[in-house]
């Protein structure tokens, strides 16, 4: 380890693990996530002069990545919606035991959220940005971010608990699962 401050390349390397995590959690697809990260790296490199070393590299990269994600979505349009439909359908499978979802179910629940809600929740709850930083990244008001995070969490809590008989019309299988846990 040397004492000199990190170079642009070093700073970028250090930011990649978290960036990859965000890309995968946002897009839900490993191939798309890898593509997003690569594009982000290339774009960031090309405009490195606009970045001031020592400022928030993570926020800067994440901003480029999410903008790339949305512009790709606009181009792909319908194709992406169908993909998300396939993910959402998975949610009809009842939880494996005692209403507790495993990681796969959590991921699918996350992917069923509207993109902006999932994005806000990820940035605040996993990437570790403040509400203010997240608002800058998403180019909107802090209040909007708070509202998106709140709605995302409420929806996830509903999906995680899956208490049934529920308003969602629980199927007989999940009702039996819940009845068993009440009997304990």
């Amino acid at each position: 380890m040397n004492d000199s401050p990190p170079t642009f390349k070093q700073a970028m390397l250090a930011a990649l693990p978290s960036l990859r995590a965000f890309a995968l959690s946002l897009s839900g697809r490993p191939d798309r996530a890898d593509d997003l990260v690569q594009e982000t790296v290339m774009k960031a490199w090309a405009k490195q002069d606009s970045f001031k070393l020592g400022t928030n590299m993570q926020a800067w990269l994440v901003t480029i990545l999410r903008n790339t994600f949305y512009s790709q979505m606009r181009k792909r349009g319908r194709e992406v919606q169908d993909t998300e439909g396939a993910f959402t359908a998975r949610l009809s499978v009842p939880p494996s035991h005692d209403g507790v979802m495993d990681m796969a179910d959590f991921k699918h629940a996350l992917l069923s959220l509207p993109d902006e809600q999932r994005e806000a929740l990820l940035l605040v709850g996993a990437s570790g940005f403040s509400y203010e930083e997240t608002a800058e990244i998403c180019d909107c008001a802090v209040g909007t971010i708070k509202s998106r995070v709140s709605r995302a969490r409420t929806k996830l809590q509903e999906l995680l608990q899956i208490s049934g008989p529920s308003d969602y019309g629980a199927d007989p299988v999940s009702q039996r699962v819940v009845s068993r846990s009440f009997a304990d």
Binding site: M12, L13, V37, Q38, G125, S181
Partner: protein
């Protein structure tokens, strides 16, 4: 149809259970079941080695820059 507010099993220990803050936690980061799952999800990816082609891309960009004498 009776609906229990919280079926008594899931996500109950949230507020009372002390969750250690990790390096990146902010005041906005939820210290509860959802927060834990989110960070566990990230930890999965972050523990992976960075793909070789991504490293190669960075090296290529870096090398090209040095060639151009920037």
């Amino acid at each position: 149809m009776g609906q229990t507010p919280n079926n008594g099993k899931a996500a109950v220990d949230t507020a009372s259970e002390a969750v250690p803050k990790d390096d990146r936690s902010s005041e906005a980061m939820p210290q509860d079941e959802i927060g834990r799952r989110l960070r566990a999800m990230y930890a999965e990816v972050e523990s992976e080695t960075i793909p070789a082609d991504l490293i190669a891309l960075l090296e290529k960009l870096d090398a090209a820059e040095e060639r151009d004498g920037k």
